[in-house]
Symmetry: C2
């Protein structure tokens, strides 16, 4: 008998690797933050004595969901301005509100609120882009949550930095600080082609070649920004980014709703990753990302919620469902993006895009124990013929019962263990009072 | 002081009529199944003494949601066959399974499961189309739930009837039985243009002119059925139905994803209603219903989930959210179908389509007390700037706490009061075992 930290017996385990497998009556053995084994119940009981044993007889275990594009702190502006196009929403509502309110306290409180929501919905890792990434990194680390914090770069001044030099130098400092952290990673996050000029983009690519961290960027989100680039520079944004050397295996191109012939081939050829945000694209009427065509071209497609100010939640279950359903209608093929592939996009594909698939994204022995338990026993998910179908097409995030990150249980029977839910809510309501009075 | 049955004090009341209104710190007074008053807390406390008083200080009250198109009993086949186009799904999976399994017991157990799901999600009324409508009517009545049961008509034999004469005669019998029922209504439900021939359709229209009950029909769901009709008859299905006199204010045309110039004008001119099922249309890759164009033409558009075998849930919160988001992308306008209009589609517009808007669909004094309380205090719905934005864009159906139908509390703190949840689940699992062994 081997003594380990945690043993979770579950009705189903969906490891994502190998592809397509659903294990029944299996257990996950966890020690020192890592998955030691994924084996049948009887074998687990015969081999392991665990400090903590969980009997989840009506649950499916899946890898922690990876929200590959969000702006966590913006959760404090959830529902502040709806039913508006992207540029009106940004220029007349969000940017003025950010100019007035964003500071370290805002980012701390907003990131905590976002993490509370994400953990309660089975998300264990978020790829973030926002101001004061040092604050969100500290908040994530304190909550035991994984994050790739974006080293944001813009041409214009904000409360975080006054010009691209300062954005970059502050970013590089943060990169150094977290380069060996167990939970926090960093990525360059030039906001978008229309907000960052050539010089800082070239410098970023130079650093990327040296540091080998990802580049996280909004690309071809709307038709308007593509037209503007063509009018001003005579090329489409993807062409411009390629000329600058940014279309590479380190790029996470977010949104990508505007793609013409040749651009999908270019992205595939360069090995760049696409982050699909179906609900944000719908709600802001940005356009339809041709997900099935991207997958058919061999491109790695991950999933993100975008910020809760646009979307208006951080619900990866909702995003998987929307992605699977929308891809079918856009492709005109009900066989497009089947349920298992949607789950893979929200887990392993996100890990691949972020360059951390050796650590997370599937339930393989040796990987970190980032595990989510979903209770499939209630009215909404019965009868049950295929657990993965249930997870994608019938399940709400409210069915997530327990979450482990790096072996630590961060959600226990729907109770958060590393965040004080009442304190997080109190601070959200305090911000609501301040922001509402001035908006 | 007037003595009444029930007084509900809520943080917000969204009555739907008058349009756009959000009442703060209001109460709903209920007596003998009807809404007596919607007034501020202080006024309510001064005027009414109630048998039951509910303090819902963090909740919004909305009218009961009306699921204007479903096949309730099919919930027993939830997730049986996914990621397939409509005709493959119907002809190779659903119709064979129905032929083998559908009987009175199946319809009873499936309808109870569906109602348990719908009540837990704030749906108080469902417009149903399925076999053995007598059984579903009895089940709904026993559960205290409202339903318009469809008097289904098909050309081909099923366990319910062997030919159109028998479908119609059994339907008319049911119409007679329920003509004065407080909860149950009936509608003719010829399945679709491609499954019902001219003669029964003409007879249905003759009866409709006399009985003035609705006609509930799948219309222009897929491109294939339209092409088939053109090939076989030289006209599109809508033309054929118009020639038969069916396009009228009594028609609920469900799906309507395939519309060419002139067809929207025709539907508007005839005063027919459209039932939009956004998630079913996406998942089966049926096409995009041009919702904003229908609304702009003055057509009354209601919302339905479709059956859980295709969709795979009966979640009207999800359907409102999908409808609001998808309409924006389809119209290319982020201002299309704003949140308040989505809520209206799921309540008053459904009531109008079914010809019962004098009774339900809004929280006006004199109407039936079909009321849903939604708790907006948790992490997922905070901060809160606009309650309707929260209901549509951030809220899950799990936030529904309490439901009243005709003044009777059918959901109390998320517990069903008229259905035995464990018994319903046990029967669903029993059917799962039978169906799985043979599929």
């Amino acid at each position: 008998m081997e003594t380990i930290d945690t043993l979770i017996h579950a009705r189903w385990v969906i490891p994502i690797e190998p592809d397509g497998v659903v294990l029944e009556h299996h257990s996950i053995a966890i020690h020192d933050g890592r998955i030691v084994a994924v084996v049948p119940h009887a074998e687990a009981r015969a081999h392991y004595r665990a400090e903590a044993v969980h009997q989840l007889e009506q649950h499916a275990l899946i890898p922690g969901l990876i929200n590959t594009h969000t702006h966590a702190a913006m959760t404090l502006m959830r529902g502040l301005a709806d039913d508006l196009p992207l540029m009106t929403w940004l220029q007349e509502h969000i940017w003025p509100a950010e100019q007035q309110w964003v500071n370290e306290e805002f980012v701390h409180d907003g990131t905590q609120l976002a993490m509370a929501e994400m953990l309660r919905g089975g998300t264990t890792y978020f790829n973030d882009m926002y101001y004061f990434p040092d604050v969100s990194a500290r908040a994530a680390s304190a909550a035991g949550m994984r994050s790739t914090v974006g080293l944001i770069v813009l041409d214009f001044p904000t409360a975080w930095a006054s010009n691209s030099d300062e954005y970059l130098s502050k970013g590089l400092e943060l990169y150094d600080q977290y380069r060996n952290d167990p939970l926090i990673r960093t990525a360059f996050a030039p906001h978008a082609p229309y907000t960052v000029s050539d010089e800082p983009l070239s410098r970023i690519q130079t650093y990327v070649n040296e540091l080998e961290i990802p580049v996280h960027m909004h690309v071809h989100e709307t038709a308007g920004e593509v037209q503007q680039c063509v009018a001003e520079r005579g090329v489409r944004p993807l062409q411009r980014l390629d000329q600058l050397g940014l279309i590479s295996p380190t790029l996470l191109a977010v949104h990508m709703t505007q793609l013409i012939d040749g651009e999908i081939d270019l992205v595939a050829l360069r090995g760049a990753h696409v982050v699909h945000c179906p609900e944000s694209n719908l709600k802001l009427a940005s356009g339809f990302c041709p997900v099935q065509r991207l997958l058919d071209a061999g491109i790695n497609v991950a999933l993100g919620t975008d910020g809760a100010a646009s979307n208006n939640d951080l619900d990866m279950f909702g995003e998987m469902r929307s992605a699977a359903m929308l891809a079918k209608a856009v492709a005109g093929d009900a066989g497009a993006l089947p349920a298992m592939q949607a789950l893979r996009m929200a887990t392993l594909n996100g890990a691949k895009a972020l360059g951390i698939d050796e650590l997370v994204g599937s339930l393989l022995p040796g990987k970190a124990a980032d595990v989510v338990a979903v209770d499939l026993s209630s009215i909404e998910t019965q009868p049950l013929y295929h657990p993965v179908s249930q997870l994608i097409y019938a399940c709400g995030r409210d069915k997530v019962s327990d979450v482990w990150i790096n072996g630590q249980q961060v959600l226990n029977g729907r109770r958060l263990t590393t965040l004080d839910e009442n304190a997080v809510l109190a601070r959200a309501q305090d911000w609501q009072g301040r922001i509402r009075r001035h908006s």
